[in-house]
């Protein structure tokens, strides 16, 4: 069944159709949540939150963008608005940094993509979010600033910081 048919059915309350949409999109949503949070457990929670939120807002989807784009945006908003969780993560990362020195450690050599994933997960939360959204997901600074509630200049500064830390970690 085509995605637009599944969306129409889900909008009418068909859970089976929504489950199909989940199955088709969970990989992308989880990848996004994992990179934004840097924590698999947190990412699974946020992925669930994103689909629950998407179900609640499904009627507002008008088909102007692709469903995957819309769902992606919902997931980004879920993660970025979860400030309490972000605070927890920040404290956890700060605590880890306190134990082991600088926040970004050189990643072990096991292929550049794997190294990069690890280095992204070790970034400070805000720098990580901006890097993932800008350099991995392709959002622009204006969109990131709007979604994150930060100034465009802050988004640019965080991107610069993230890239610098990642290059150090990968070198």
């Amino acid at each position: 069944m085509h995605v637009s048919d599944l969306v129409r059915r889900a909008q009418a309350g068909d859970r089976g159709a929504f489950q199909r949409l989940y199955e088709d999109h969970v990989g992308r949503v989880y990848a996004l949540c994992l990179r934004l949070t840097g924590d698999p457990e947190d990412a699974m929670e946020r992925t669930q939150d994103a689909f629950v939120r998407a179900w609640g807002k499904l009627r507002s989807f008008r088909g102007e963008a692709a469903f995957s784009t819309w769902l992606h945006r919902v997931a980004v908003n879920v993660v970025l608005s979860d400030r309490r969780s972000a605070g927890r993560r920040e404290r956890r990362i700060d605590a880890a940094a306190g134990e082991s020195g600088p926040r970004v450690q050189p990643a072990p050599r096991a292929g550049l993509a794997v190294d990069l994933e690890r280095a992204i997960a070790r970034l400070p939360p805000r720098a990580r979010a901006v890097f993932v959204l800008y350099d991995v997901e392709g959002y622009c600074h204006e969109e990131i600033a709007e979604m994150s509630g930060i100034a465009i200049g802050t988004s640019k500064a965080q991107l610069h910081r993230a890239r610098k830390l990642l290059r150090e970690a990968l070198s």
């Binding site: 889900a10 909008q11 009418a12 309350g13 859970r15 929504f18 489950q19 989940y22 199955e23 969970v26 990989g27 992308r28 989880y30 990848a31 994992l34 990179r35 698999p40 990412a43 699974m44 992925t47 669930q48 689909f51 629950v52 939120r53 179900w55 609640g56 807002k57 499904l58 009627r59 507002s60 608005s81 400030r83 309490r84 605070g87 550049l112 993509a113 990069l116 994933e117 350099d135 991995v136 709007e146 509630g149 890239r163 990642l166 290059r167 990968l170 070198s171």
Partner: protein, 209 residues
Amino acid sequence: MNCADVRERLDGWVKETLGEEERAAVALHLETCEACRGEARGLETLLAAAAVLPREIMPPRDLWVGIDARLDRPEAVAPRAARGRPASGLPRWALVAAALALVVVTAAVASILTRRWDEAMALKLRPPGEEARFLAASQELLVGLEDQDLSPETMAIVRRNLEVIDAAIAELRVALERDPGNAELTRMLLATYQQKIELLEQAARSGEG
């Protein structure tokens, strides 16, 4: 162009989005500046690695069961066609009703707690059902608030304050688990619940204005 000008444009250089004139100026500078060439190479390598990261990663376990179980809860406002609601968000009366329900439910919680406290110092702070109703009502109100035309700044303030209040509630509940008969902790918890109600009411009122 000096080094600072070039580094501002390296993103566009690597992604090939610069105009012809800027591109030529950056190229000229890179020919003679080893430091900026190093920056450009480093950025190219990083962006090339980012470009080939997998677009999909499957979660370690199936998440559907957990999602499915939550679709009927107030946190997931069901598709509005199925609930007979307008598509443009919760109506204002619903927000007001939710706020009132919150007050009533919380008053009931407070009443139960106070009565038990008066009757015996062994207080149970989570009467089954009452707390669930409180949480459901507050969640409904929060979901409604998100559909309002509140400015991002206002929502950020509301969220920040809710975080503080929720953290206080959580700490007080933990403390009361350890010391169920502590009257001072009970008073503090009730006052904190009240703060949460007032904050949500204020936010709902600003959405109406």
